[in-house]
Symmetry: C2
Subunit: 427 residues, 2 copies
């Protein structure tokens, strides 16, 4: 099948008007998607996007369009999506803008995920299941092994996948029956009042969630008060994670986390720069038993490799659209499995829940083989704009069954939120 | 003074037609600049750019334009260029595309360097001298200290700068008299024939260079032959560096470097991914006394910090336009000085020699206080397109004396190489 068109869209939601999504580093996000549609000559479509928080979404749209010459007019071999992704990521000129980071890499995520969405539709399967039904050899071939082999070889990855073959069918059945665990960030945005925090925290427990998350990092006294209120609201048995969104240097990260620890902090997320492997390792050593979690801004698998090598993380938070899509996340899952580190994806924003659930469900069925201590982030924003929105049942993600990667936005939503000319922005 | 306009230009040179600039990872570069002009209400202009190798230059142009709302209409305080840079880099929405990496960060480099070019013109000084005449306190204030303080505090940086105050005047005089040492990559492009390599290597020595560099990494037998021919051509006393441009995983990097070492390799440059701090450290431990050099693709000061923390580098190769311009390179120089690691900038491309010479000369006069074992890369390409091109005299960069950062391209060159409509591309 031949790809005959790549269409890019600048889609933005005016979320800053309500302070949804506000945190210590991102006080005013307008959740946005640089959105791509791939069309083939046999009438199939694939939808993908990368997520931004407003200004700069146009840069990602330009970066998606920069991939058009590599994609349009080429044959898409659904049996070699690893090769498809590697051709994009290693383009001899585009790679200069990374390599493998920033806007071009996020654009590659959008295009690669669109190709997987298309592959799922072609196979009549949700992407988690398309992946989970591949042979270990096929899965190994999806990953880009460049720069990984000092820590994980394809041969060792194959062993991990072969070990996990046992029980695939049972886990698939269980997943379809009971879903995958979630946690919710809905109560914890920094812009919310104490009253709203407490109310939403109680509602989260009532809705079946066993973990919530609070944004921290703007003011220590406020954070201690909010942490205390949240703990009182949810009781001793609910996990409370906190998220600093890269606010601190290493020293303050340690002090601040220790000040919150008496209220029962499950993990401290993004305590410092996502590039700071050695800094995260220092924080982790200092704040244990509080866990350290990072990943939504980790640029690529080389950084994931080092985070694991350096013992810098207790929890790896992959993002569906920051690294180069499904294929690079296959490498990230394998690296995490090899190090025994649970993957608890970043989600929220717009469409990130829809996309990343497929990665975690594949991890459960065919890579790590477990959902113990794994949770996918859930935020109750903007799902109504997707044709196959996530469904949360009793604090768990129900496994999607529709073909594709759940990444298709409703046509009316695309039109209304087109930036700057859609009706939402004109008004 | 108020900034009244930000103009961005997509400028490309068809260098791939001659295989100038060819290496193991970049076989066909079209040297390009995403170029910016800042205009002020008092008629001053500042020129800056970031460098790319062709496809994707438009993405950097879009990223530069995305900075316009942060810049146009604002007052430019020439006494607070550190603050100017921090406002760009930490924009609460744009930073999502990095943070501090990739296209948005390269765009910040272009805009920040343009502001320094403008400041140099306003002061009637070349930028190296503008910087070298600042007080230690002013220099410390240029840098962005976020994420650095676990390794280098502003207070310690101030001590380094105060120590280097002694002798500033003498070093300035010496620099004006004799220039700053250079090395040349001109002989060593991978696309060149053996005969051309030998001829250009001999010419380099005759021209006064004491170090040359060869591109390696495509084929080991070829590299051994080329290294042997180069060594025979230049004799035992000229340093030969080799540059793999990120071609290898850690294991092959070590093996390949060891195979070339008998011919006298001064440094191995970019042996593996520029993100791989721990990988570089492993290579360095294994290949000593061959030195390890990296930096042209190091995304930001947080990565520089870790490279130095981990003992991963013998030589730091800053780039003028990859990190966020002069201000982030001030931080990089201070980090290197604190670790006793020499800075030998990456240059070449289009305009990188012109821009980065200012950083090294400032380093010599006011930061490290020495040019021992320091060299700026020199490549004899495309200088004719600049209004104040570098001048190489007996293998050394002559200190620029014209006001600004030497970053202004000739108007006729801008017009002819405009992509895709300039005459060079229409033909």
């Amino acid at each position: 099948m031949k790809i005959v068109a790549l269409e890019a869209h600048d889609v933005r939601f005016p979320t800053s008007r309500e302070l949804d999504g506000s945190d210590a580093m991102n006080p005013d996000p307008d959740y946005s998607a640089a959105y791509v549609v791939l069309r083939t000559d046999d009438g199939l479509e694939g939808h993908g996007f990368c997520f931004t928080i407003g200004r700069g979404n146009d840069v990602c749209v330009a970066a998606i369009e920069a991939h058009a010459p590599l994609v349009v007019g080429t044959d898409l071999d659904l049996g070699d999506l690893g090769g498809f992704a590697r051709r994009l990521v290693h383009d001899s000129q585009l790679r200069w803008l990374g390599p493998e980071k920033g806007a071009v890499h996020m654009a590659a995520a959008a295009v690669v995920n669109a190709a997987f969405d298309l592959a799922g539709r072609a196979a009549g399967l949700p992407v988690w299941r398309l992946l989970a039904e591949m042979s270990p050899e096929q899965i190994v071939d999806l990953a880009d092994w460049r720069y990984l082999t000092d820590v994980l070889t394809p041969a060792r990855a194959l062993e991990i996948l072969q070990d996990a073959k046992t029980g695939r069918a049972e886990r698939t059945e269980k997943l379809l029956a009971t879903g995958y665990p979630a946690y919710t960030t809905t109560p914890g945005w920094l812009g919310y009042s104490d009253e709203k925090l407490v109310r939403l925290a109680r509602e989260a427990v009532a809705d079946g969630f066993t973990q919530i998350k609070l944004k921290v990092g703007a003011n220590l006294d406020d954070d201690i008060r909010r942490m205390r209120l949240a703990r009182e609201a949810v009781g001793p048995d609910i996990r409370i994670a906190v998220d600093a969104n890269q606010r601190w240097d290493v020293g303050p990260a340690i002090e601040w986390t220790k000040a919150l620890a008496p209220y029962g902090v499950y993990w401290i997320e993004e305590p410092t720069s996502p590039d700071d492997v050695l800094g995260h390792a220092a924080v982790r050593r200092a704040v244990a038993p509080v866990k350290v979690a990072t990943g939504e801004h980790i640029a690529n698998r080389v950084m994931v490799k080092q985070m694991l090598q350096a013992g810098a993380l207790d929890v790896l938070q992959i993002d569906a659209c920051r690294v180069a899509g499904v294929t690079e996340n296959v490498a990230n899952l394998l690296l995490a499995a090899a190090h025994g580190v649970p993957v608890c994806p970043h989600a929220g924003g717009v469409g990130l829940c829809e996309a990343v659930q497929h990665i975690s469900m594949f991890d459960y069925v065919a890579v790590s083989g477990t959902a113990d201590d794994r949770v996918i982030e859930y935020v109750d924003h903007l799902h109504e704009h997707f044709t196959d929105p996530v469904r949360i049942v009793n604090g768990r993600y129900a496994a999607p069954t529709a073909p594709g990667m759940s990444t298709e936005m409703r046509a009316a939503s695309l039109a209304a939120h087109a930036f700057p000319d859609g009706e939402v922005w004109r008004s």
